[in-house]
Symmetry: C2
Subunit: 113 residues, 2 copies
């Protein structure tokens, strides 16, 4: 899978988030990513705010930090999520247009749910 890595000045020592190339994301990966209710909640939350507004700790979902981190990873791997580190925080953006272009109609079903 093609990966991009960006180091932001002031980022913490964690590895920079790795993002999917949407051309290489399979329909199965996309369906499985969106089959989880917590991930659909994260996606809908991001769809309702400006890009990069939400840090990872700001989501109101009933899961542990480790589980949430895993959900973010699945969303990155399915091409739904872009993340950037800034200082100690990691900010999020829904890759809506790119995902829509690859899987037309799929995000609209999640938004309408």
């Amino acid at each position: 899978m093609a990966q991009t890595e960006d180091r932001v000045a002031g980022a913490s020592h964690r590895a920079a988030p790795v993002h999917a190339d949407l051309v290489e994301v399979s329909l199965e990966t996309a369906l499985l990513a969106l089959a989880d209710p917590i991930r659909r909640t994260l996606v809908r939350t991001l769809a309702g705010v400006p890009d990069w507004e939400r840090a990872c700790g700001s989501f109101d979902v009933p899961v542990t930090k480790a589980t949430l981190s895993r959900h973010f990873q699945v969303l990155r791997e399915s091409g739904l999520l872009e993340q950037r580190d800034a200082g100690a925080k990691r900010f999020n953006r829904l890759r809506r247009e790119e995902f829509d272009a690859r899987f037309p109609g799929l995000l609209a079903l999640v938004m309408a749910e």
Copy 2:
């Protein structure tokens, strides 16, 4: 879940297949049904033939009879499949228009895969 049962003259002693009311099928159920590659193969096969042409034993998929039966059950429960018994055989129809009306665009993604 609303269910319909039809007994066909000459049907075997098995219980008649139970079908989903699509209004009551959740997005999650639909996504999970289509996240499986064998089920997507069954759906694409049915999309390419006339309604009721295919009996359950006629699908070329590398799974046991019991596993295949379970896949058909999941497809029925997600509103994708209608089945009718005729003698010892069980015939199949993809509920394409009904499923498209409930989840616009989702089957098109499977067909394009």
